[in-house]
C-alpha cells in the first residue's frame, strides 16, 4: 500500500467521527487537494471537509478555535513553505490554550515539506524547525517506515497542537514493509505512541554507524544501507523517529550507544533538529563523534544541478563512512 493510501485511510477512519473536520485550500472536489490527499473525501463527508479561502492565518486560527470548542480539527497547509503564516496562531494561541488554560486541544496542522522537485525557493523548503523548541507544540513526521494514517490518528488524539510533517516525494512511494527491500531488512520499533523505528540488514545486529533521519530522506538512506553492506561490507543501522519534537529520550538513549552518529535532515543547516539532537547527545551523553548533514544555507534553486548541490546528498554520507572505515 502506498504512503498516500495509508494517509487517506487514516483520514477516513478519523472522519467517521462527526466531530472531526478537515479544512484547507482546494481540498474539496473536484480538486481534492494539491497532492490529492483529500481526493473524494468531500463527497463522502460533505459537512466535515471544507475548502477555505486562501487565508492561512485566518483558517489556521479558525481551526484552533474549533478545537478550543471541543471539535477535532485537521488543517491542511498546501505547501509546507506557507506555515510561516500559521506561526502566530500556533505559537501565541494554540500552545497557550494548552499551557495557560489547561485545555486539551485536538488540532493538527498537516503539510508537505521537501524539495528535489525543481519547484524553487518558496515551494521546496523543510521549515518544520520553525515550530520546534516551543512548549506544548509537537512536531510529528511519518515516513515509509511509519504508517502515516496511524500517526495522524494519534496526533489528532494527542490533545496538544501538532505540526504533522509529510514529504512530497513520499506520497507515491510504497511503505517499505510492502516492498522487496523489506526482505533484506530487519525492522524494529519502539512501543512509544509515536514510534522510533530501527532498521538493519538481516543478521547485522552490530554496527559502528547509525544514521538518524526522518521523513522523505528515509528511503534514500535505506538504499544507502543496502549499498554499503553489499558493496563495502559495512554494517550501518538506521534510526528514524516519528516524534521530532519534543525530543524523545528513548532516541537519545538508543543512538548514543553507537560509535559514530550521523544526523541527516532536509532543513537548512544550523539551529535545526539535528543541532538540537547533537547538543543533547554531547551534553547528556558526552558523545564526540556526531556528524550532521543538512541543506546548505542558500535559497533552494530551481535548476536541477543547483538544487542538488544545495539539498543534502547521501553520497556524502557514504564517503564519510568509507573514510572513517579506512582511518
Amino acid at each position: 500500500m502506498s504512503y498516500l493510501k495509508q494517509l487517506q485511510n487514516g483520514l477516513i477512519t478519523l472522519l467517521q467521527d462527526n466531530d472531526v473536520y478537515l479544512l484547507g485550500e482546494d481540498i474539496a472536489e473536484p480538486y481534492g487537494g494539491s497532492f490529492k490527499v483529500s481526493k473524494g473525501l468531500s463527497l463522502e463527508f460533505p459537512k466535515q471537509v471544507i475548502s477555505t479561502p486562501m487565508s492561512e492565518q485566518g483558517f489556521t486560527g479558525m481551526g484552533i478555535g474549533m478545537a478550543l470548542a471541543g471539535l477535532k480539527v485537521i488543517v491542511e497547509i498546501m505547501f509546507g513553505d506557507f506555515i510561516t503564516l500559521c506561526a502566530d496562531q500556533m505559537i501565541n494561541h494554540a500552545s497557550k490554550f494548552v499551557g495557560l488554560y489547561d485545555k486539551k486541544l485536538h488540532f493538527v496542522l498537516r503539510t508537505p515539506m521537501g524539495g528535489y522537485r525543481g519547484y524553487g525557493g518558496t515551494h521546496s523548503q523543510s521549515l518544520e524547525k520553525l515550530f520546534m523548541g516551543f512548549p506544548d507544540i509537537w512536531v510529528i513526521s511519518p515516513s515509509i517506515l511509519h504508517n502515516p494514517g496511524d500517526l495522524l490518528i494519534k496526533a489528532v488524539n494527542l490533545g496538544k497542537p501538532v505540526l504533522f510533517v509529510e514529504n512530497k516525494l513520499d506520497y507515491t512511494k510504497n511503505m517499505l514493509i510492502e516492498t522487496k527491500a523489506s526482505e533484506d531488512h530487519y525492522i524494529e520499533l519502539s512501543n512509544s505512541a509515536f514510534p522510533l523505528i530501527k532498521t538493519s540488514m538481516k543478521d547485522e545486529f552490530e554496527a559502528n554507524y547509525v544514521i538518524v533521519t526522518y521523513g522523505g530522506l528515509v528511503s534514500e538512506v535505506i538504499s544507502l544501507q543496502e549499498e554499503l553492506y553489499l558493496e563495502d561490507e559495512i554494517s550501518v543501522h538506521i534510526v528514524s523517529p516519528s516524534q521530532l519534537f519534543p525530543i524523545d529520550n528513548k532516541l537519545i538513549d538508543l543512538i548514543s550507544d553507537y560509535k559514530h552518529i550521523i544526523l541527516l535532515e532536509e532543513s537548512y543547516s544550523g539551529a535545526s533538529w539535528s543541532s538540537a539532537l547533537a547538543a543533547t547527545l554531547a551534553e547528556r551523553k558526552g558523545h564526540s563523534s556526531i556528524h550532521r548533514f543538512s541543506a546548505q544555507l542558500k535559497t533552494i534553486a530551481a535548476a536541477e544541478n543547483l538544487e542538488n548541490s544545495i539539498l543534502p546528498n547521501v553520497n556524502n554520507i557514504a564517503n564519510l563512512i568509507k573514510r572513517m572505515e579506512n582511518e
Binding site: 459537512k47 487565508s55 478550543l68 501565541n92
Partner: protein, 304 residues
Amino acid sequence: MNNQEMYFKMLLIRKTEEEIEELFSKGLLRGTTHGAKGQEAVAVGLLSHIDCNFDYITGSHRSHGHYLAINPDPYPLFAELMGKETGLVKGKGGSQHILYKNFITNGITGGMVPIATGLAFSQKEKTKDGICISIFGDGAMNEGYVMEALNLAAVLELPIIFALENNSYAMSTPFSYSCRGKIEDRIHGFGLDYHQIEAIDVETVSEKCSDLISIVRTTRKPIFIEFKTHRFSGHSKSDKREYVDPCLDEYWHKNDPLLRIENKLDPKIVIETNQKVENMIKESVERAIQDANPMVEGIEYENL
C-alpha cells in the same frame, strides 16, 4: 438587566481599574495592565445578554471590564494579577490572559478574532442558537488575520458578532492616522452588516445589543458592531496619555457613561452601590494578598 444592576457592574469595573492602578503605584503588582476606564458601557451593555456557559466570548489585552461584566467578582481577577494560585488562571496568565467559563482572552492584538470564527463554527454545527462574540480594539482593525476572519465568517455564514471597541487610539496612534477609509465601508466590502453604537448611555447600548444578539441567534449569520468609546486609562500602566486630543477628553468627560447612568438613579441607591463596590474591592484585595503563590512543578532537566 435593570439600571441599578448595570450601574453596579459599571462602577465595579471603574473602581477595579482604579484599584489596579493604585496597587501598581504601591509596587504590589508585577508586569503590566491595560485599563478600560470609560469603556464600561460597552462591556455591560453588550455582555448582559450573554450566558457564558453556553455562548462564547473572546476578549483582548484590555479585558478586565469584560470579565467583570460577565462575572462581577473581582477577587479571582485580583488574585490573578497578583500571581496567586487562586487566580482565574492559577496565576499563570496575568492581566492579559484570562479564562472564565467560555470567556477567553489573549495578549496578541486581533489574534483571538480568527479563533472566534472557529468557536462560532462549532456553535453553528453543534447548537441551535449559540453564538460567539469577539471583542477587539481599533488597533486590531489593521491586522491582516482580522480581515481574513471577517471574510471567513461571511463566506461560511457563522453566528458571530464582531464587536469593535473603537477608542480612537491604538496605543498612541490615532485611528484617524492609521485608517484612511471608513470602517463601515470596509465591513460592507466583506458583505457584512454594519451597526454603530455610541457607548455613552448604557440603557441604549443594552437595548440595541439585545436586538442585534437576537438577530444573530436566529439568522445564524455574522454582524459587525462598531462601538464608539473612549478610554480614560492610558494604553498601559506607564502611559501618560500625552497624545490624547483634549477636545475628545472633554467630550467624553461631559458624557461619562458612568455618570450618565448614575444620574438616572435614586441618590440613596448610588451611595449604597458605591459602598458595596468599595467593600467588595477592599475584601477581594485583602483576601488575594493572603493567598498562596502557585507551586512550581515539572522541571525535568536543570539545563537543556
